[in-house]
């Protein structure tokens, strides 16, 4: 599928899908990458070393630092795929060199948990 590149990079990994938007600051533990918001559908899961697929980021502007901290603590996702890229996610990924792409709705919905994919955020493709 073709995707819009927000932050460049190329990586292969396993998909972890979130149904709900992600509030990085409140919702994710910056040291371990564990989802700590018990009202979130990924509660208890770890987002590190996964390809995180989620609609968009919400909430605090400091969430960008959470993304940077996750990278620093080696608990960051390998890449992120969004339906709408928000400013917090885009800037957090840009500073942390985490590839970020935006997919069209039907492509986005075709991504499934556990699927192995290759994100080419240089050419703008997911294989």
């Amino acid at each position: 599928m073709n995707v819009k590149v927000i932050v460049r990079g190329k990586v292969k990994g396993t998909v972890l899908c979130a149904q709900k938007p992600v509030n990085f600051l409140g919702g994710i533990d910056k040291k371990t990458g564990r989802v700590r918001d018990e009202k979130h559908d990924l509660f208890g899961k770890f987002i590190g070393d996964k390809i995180l697929v989620f609609p968009n980021g919400v909430g605090s502007s400091v969430g960008a630092y959470t993304i940077y901290s996750l990278k620093y603590n080696k608990s960051a996702p390998l890449a992120m795929v969004c339906l709408h890229a928000d400013i917090t996610t885009a800037s957090g990924c840009a500073i942390s060199n985490i590839p970020l792409v935006v997919a069209e709705k039907k492509d986005y919905e075709s991504l499934k948990d556990g699927q192995e994919i290759l994100i080419d955020a240089i050419e703008g493709k997911i294989l």
Binding site: K30, G57, V58, Y68, H84, T88, A90, S91, L100
Partner: protein, 384 residues
């Protein structure tokens, strides 16, 4: 997004590592939001100041950055983790204090106005209507767009930092007049009309709306309720502005059922061990009103009241510090409820607050229970 030759050169690192990083952030946001160009902004308000939120990664990043970076425009900052004057009363470890001071010094070295406040719209003189600014703190961005007639996107800590370093921001979303018209109206159809209900309405609206939302049926929207609405909205969504009155397009009701749903998500305890007031921080008007409401009554539990340092002089001159102190309230400057290291789950099971934003972060980040109720109820039930 089109860049000028000068901007291209900066992006390529011809003016140093710091500017290259700042432009890399601006370009990523520009792509994400479909911007056509970069435009000048006059004021940046930064989040990412509290060591509790940015951790070692953030502290080290800022320390490195401050070696040669200087802010190009007026730059103000969000609250930090504690009030230096009273920090010894709290059980904070040395490492936290040292690292928080390092963050403070890094920002000061880069030329920040050390405001440590999440309500810049209340403590600084505002530029003329329509001025482009870059506000990261979400309640401040929403307030600036909706009440102060300024223009900003709901910036992130890094996008506002990039604006502070370059004086620029991508021209997109709410910076463009065309996108400021809401496509959704939320009709306020519930009682009581107090700051808590408005905070819950904000939280609901943030989940439903895109970048802008119309809110109709508002009554008694005073400053306290307005700040609560902005903070609730900023917590749950990506919406960066509201207008008052019915707009075009889809309409949904915020009725008793919807309010109860939101409240059930955030109110997790029937009572609490301590009270926190602020998030957003209380301005002078709210402090004065609190003093008037308390007349003769005192808090039955520890009550932390968060304010900006900018109003400390007036609070003292007017004698509010003595009155609130006498009623068992503790005024804390430079910090706030959100992500506070001053509430520790080992000492506290649950917190009583009227802040919807505070409630969300106390539960998710501090890991304590929250008893959410209006200031009116707090005074009725928690003072004697």
């Amino acid at each position: 997004m089109e860049l000028t030759k000068e901007e291209e050169a900066a992006l390529d690192g011809k003016h140093g590592e710091t500017l290259a990083l700042a432009y890399r952030i601006l370009v990523a946001i520009g792509k994400a939001t479909g911007a056509d160009k970069l435009i000048p902004v006059e004021w940046a308000h930064l989040s990412g100041v509290n060591y509790n939120t940015i951790g070692d990664a953030g502290q080290e990043f800022l320390s490195h950055l401050s070696k040669d970076a200087k802010f190009k425009i007026k730059t103000t900052v969000n609250p930090m983790g504690f009030d230096s004057d009273t920090v010894s009363k709290f059980n904070l470890d040395e490492e936290f204090i040292t690292k928080q001071q390092s963050i403070r010094q890094s920002y000061e070295k880069m030329g920040v106005i050390p405001s440590f406040s999440c309500i810049p719209y209340e403590i600084f003189e505002l530029p003329k209507k329509g001025t482009q600014v870059s506000f990261a703190e979400s309640n401040a961005a929403i307030y600036a767009n909706s009440i102060s007639s300024l223009k900003t996107n709901k910036e992130s800590a890094f996008s506002a930092l990039a604006s502070a370093l370059t004086g620029k921001s991508p021209h997109s979303d709410l910076r463009d007049e065309e996108n400021r018209n809401p496509k959704l109206t939320i009709r306020m159809k519930t009682e009581p009309v107090d700051e808590l209900t408005y905070g819950l309405l904000g939280y609901f609206a943030g989940k439903e709306a895109e970048s802008s939302v119309a809110i109709s049926g508002t009554k008694g929207l005073d400053k306290r309720s307005c700040k609560s609405l902005c903070a609730g909205m900023g917590t749950s969504g990506s919406c960066g502005m509201f207008t008052l009155g019915e707009g075009e397009g889809e309409k949904i009701d915020f009725d008793y059922t919807e309010m109860t749903k939101v409240k059930d998500e955030l109110n997790t305890s029937e009572s609490g061990d301590i009270i926190t007031l602020g998030s957003p921080q209380l301005g002078l008007e709210e402090i004065s009103d609190l003093v008037a409401k308390l007349k003769g009554r005192s808090f039955k539990k520890r009550c932390m009241i968060f304010c900006p340092r900018a109003i400390q002089g007036q609070i003292r001159t007017l004698g509010y510090d003595k009155e609130l102190g006498g009623a068992g309230g503790e005024i804390l400057y430079d910090c706030c409820t959100c992500l506070t290291p001053l509430v520790d789950k080992h000492d506290v099971d649950a917190v009583i607050t009227n802040s919807v934003k505070g409630a969300y972060y106390l539960r998710t980040s501090n890991g304590v229970g929250v008893n959410l109720k209006s200031l009116h109820k707090i005074i009725e039930e928690e003072t004697k």
